[in-house]
Point group: C2
Chain length 350, copies 2
């Protein structure tokens, strides 16, 4: 075991504070990573504050699953990585590797998946600690290669916000010639706009804030619709092949279902805590589909990173110091970030 510096919540109401955690020495299959940057996902805040009734938090909790770093050591059986490689780790650090989901390359649906934080740790017997730390040890199967041309701070959010939006766009066949809606321009939404644009689609950004228009166009949207403008919405009735809804606040999905073409699909990646109120008729007329999507498998995450390398895509980020995490959480609650906070782990050395 070795000691790593980290920031942890010790209770649901405590601010995150510096601490020291134990990490395992690399087993033969492990990669030891010096963490350089870690994105701040809304999930980090929810988990640190124990706000998900279905996923109770074990304290102390070290959040962080948008990890970019440098390999410092590898186990004897590691073939994919060597010291010095620039790598990333996302929301998962292990899975059973044998179930149908793993065989299908969809480890996120493996019943035995190990999430990067707040999950039972097979090695330690405790729980997993995430990326708000200066180092981590991860099985090579869950370590990703970061294309060398990508700036590292902006690359960190790709392994959660990026894959969460890339995967459904790919799964539902977004390509050139398709008309795609992205609902919400936050951490997820701004990645959705970039990916849908890079995939060649005609991209319409839906937002409640007219002031986001210029930024949406800059990020790759072809049109911006203020979703509270019923007339503007009605003009797009029945025209979308696919809509990606990234909003986790409670909102009316029926308005979006009515914008789909026949057999069109609306996919949720935001998860409102209140049940969605869905009318049956917008589903039945037009044979529309409402679906969900959960991050993406490891192979698809690597594909996404490679796609980002080819297209020069990273997240738009505001780099913060680890010491600023609590004020960043408060700003996150006010959606006061364009579009992702990323922690520079060099600050942990100060």
């Amino acid at each position: 075991m070795f000691q790593a510096k980290a920031y942890a919540a010790v209770s649901a109401t405590a601010p995150l504070a510096p601490t020291t955690i134990q990490r395992r020495e690399p087993t033969p299959h492990d990669v030891r990573i010096e963490i350089l940057f870690c994105g701040v996902c809304h999930s980090d805040l929810h988990q640190a504050r124990n706000e998900w009734s279905g996923f109770p938090t074990v304290f102390p909790c070290v959040p962080g699953h948008e990890i970019v770093g440098r390999v410092t050591a590898v186990g004897s059986a590691v073939t994919k990585f060597k010291a010095g490689d620039t790598v990333a780790v996302g929301c998962m650090v292990d899975s059973d590797g044998t179930c149908p989901e793993c065989v299908a390359g969809l480890e996120q649906f493996c019943p035995g998946v190990t999430l990067t934080y707040n999950a039972a740790d097979k090695h330690s017997g405790g729980i997993t600690y995430g990326g708000y730390s200066d180092g981590i040890v991860v099985d090579q199967r869950f370590v990703l290669k970061v294309p060398s041309n990508l700036p590292l701070a902006g690359a960190a959010p790709l392994v959660c916000a990026g894959i969460t939006t890339y995967s459904p766009l790919r799964h539902w066949g977004v390509t050139r010639g398709k008309k795609v809606g992205i609902v919400g321009l936050g951490g997820l939404g701004h990645m959705g706009v970039k990916f849908a644009h890079a995939l060649g689609a005609h991209v319409v950004l839906f937002t409640t804030s007219a002031r986001k228009k210029d930024d949406a166009l800059r990020l790759g949207a072809d049109e911006v619709v203020v979703s509270t403008d019923a007339n503007a919405m009605q003009k797009h009735a029945g025209s979308f092949d696919f809509i990606l809804d990234t909003v986790s606040a409670t909102h009316d999905l029926n308005a979006y279902l009515s914008l789909l073409r026949r057999d069109g699909n609306l996919t949720l990646v935001g998860a409102p805590s209140e049940p969605l109120k869905i009318d049956a008729f917008p589903l039945i007329f037009g044979r529309h589909r409402l679906s969900g999507s959960l991050i993406g498998g490891i192979a698809e995450t690597q594909e996404m990173l490679d796609f980002c390398g080819q297209h020069g895509i990273t997240a738009d980020v505001e780099v913060i110091r680890m010491q600023d995490i609590n004020s960043a959480f408060e700003r996150l609650l006010k959606a006061d970030v364009k579009y992702r906070f990323v922690i520079d782990m060099a600050s942990l050395k100060q």
Copy 2:
């Protein structure tokens, strides 16, 4: 024009009563049909009582869109039918024929579709009158051939209850080796069980009434689950390829979404009047889909009828006289029918 006997509602609160309506003489493309049987769909009751806010009723209203009859005359350009043929007419009697939906054989989604009753009638300038009548005139494109081996009373519900369940089962790829759930054992549900069984699937019927078990097994279900039994439900978690929900009463869909395999689909054909309360998590975990389906196109309806001929499938019906329609509506509201009322139009001659 010629006169046809019919039963009509003259207001939302009036019982259906005998009347005489005007039908057009066949144009060159029309088929004149002597109606022999007409099924009683729940939609008939809703429309007669003006219970759909989105589809206001024009009175007098002659319901009925599960029509089986015999051709008595054909227009000069009719090639598909001749006098004496046994035919059926379902929920649609016309469409624009040129839009992408029509070209795709999905006339039910045509913006210019003409429903069999309570729709603007291009010929008369009034509204269309349905099958609670001794005769009807329909464009040959919307007339279907009834396989000669099928009993006519049981065949009538195929063109609404039948195609409404057959189409989603086919669209979502139900075949041998698939595990399929049917929710509800009414007019739609009992057809869903028969079709899913005939398609070779392992069929599980979900019902709130344990007393329906024997009947469900007789109709083709392999298993019956009482949906109020949480333990029995839990045993099927994550195991269904497809679930067809035929229940139009408000009910909890989240319990069913959790029973789907990864990428599994839950399709609604019943339309509860209250919004559905859908949790985001059962959609996101497992990448599940909630969708709707609306009857089926004309070509698929003919395919369904031919499938029924090959497999000897008809609806289980209780034949009534036209004069009994009002008491049948009352029994329908109590779900007191196994499984579809069908009106014998010979009663109109009495």
